[in-house]
Symmetry: C2
Subunit: 112 residues, 2 copies
DNA sequence: CCGAATCCGCAAGGATACTG
DNA sequence: CAGTATCCTTGCGGATTCGG
């Protein structure tokens, strides 16, 4: 049967994953559990505060991660994957494995 | 074990898939086989010649699709998935399924 | 028929400084 | 500690025109 371009839902999934820092943020939260803002910032070298905030907000918007604020001084905010967000795991894993193979393949070509 | 941000190969896979038209192009070639340029253009409504050319070149560059030129007048060029490109199928399918579920979920929320 | 070449707008990404 | 607020740069995507 013919593919219906209008129903190409791949882009919906892509929209969630795309963003320069989203994959690594999701990988960290998936594999290492809850992190607070500063921990996440240290865990993702090179990211600026603004970008971290932006990406986290976008992921929260889509119910992929949850944000828990502790009303105290100094402030404390924790981020973790939602159950729904965890359903992305197979995709992330598949992409990670494929990406690794792809990189190896490229390196071999360079050797020739 | 801790995730190594530097080794986050998810982005390598993402780099292949990202591009406004790449998912649908790949889906068409995967499910419907070889297409020539003009067929592809008709199959992907809204795409311009430049964009189609650009996206095809990028995919060819990564060995995802192959380009076969028939030296004749008028010109004829056929595009098809390489065996390597076909290895993307599980990812594409997983994303398509997840995307569909995601869209349905969003629609339900709107109803509330 | 299958492009290449050029020009352009806009939004994502980023550097830096400031705040409850 | 966990963010805003502002300004700036870059590059993708798009419209259009020309060529083999």
């Amino acid at each position: 049967m013919a593919v219906q371009p209008e129903l190409c839902r791949v882009e919906d999934a892509l929209g969630i994953l795309v963003g320069k820092w989203k994959p690594i943020i999701l990988l960290v939260l998936l594999h290492e559990g809850t992190h607070r803002f500063s921990e996440l910032k240290r865990r993702v070298p090179g990211i600026t505060q603004k970008m971290l905030t932006t990406q986290l907000r976008e992921l929260e918007e889509e119910d992929i991660i949850s944000r828990k604020v502790y009303p105290q001084v100094p402030p404390k905010v924790e981020y973790s994957m939602t159950d729904y967000g965890k359903s992305l795991e197979p995709i992330l894993t598949a992409m990670h494995e494929w990406g690794t193979a792809h990189t190896l393949r490229k390196m071999q070509k360079v050797q020739d």
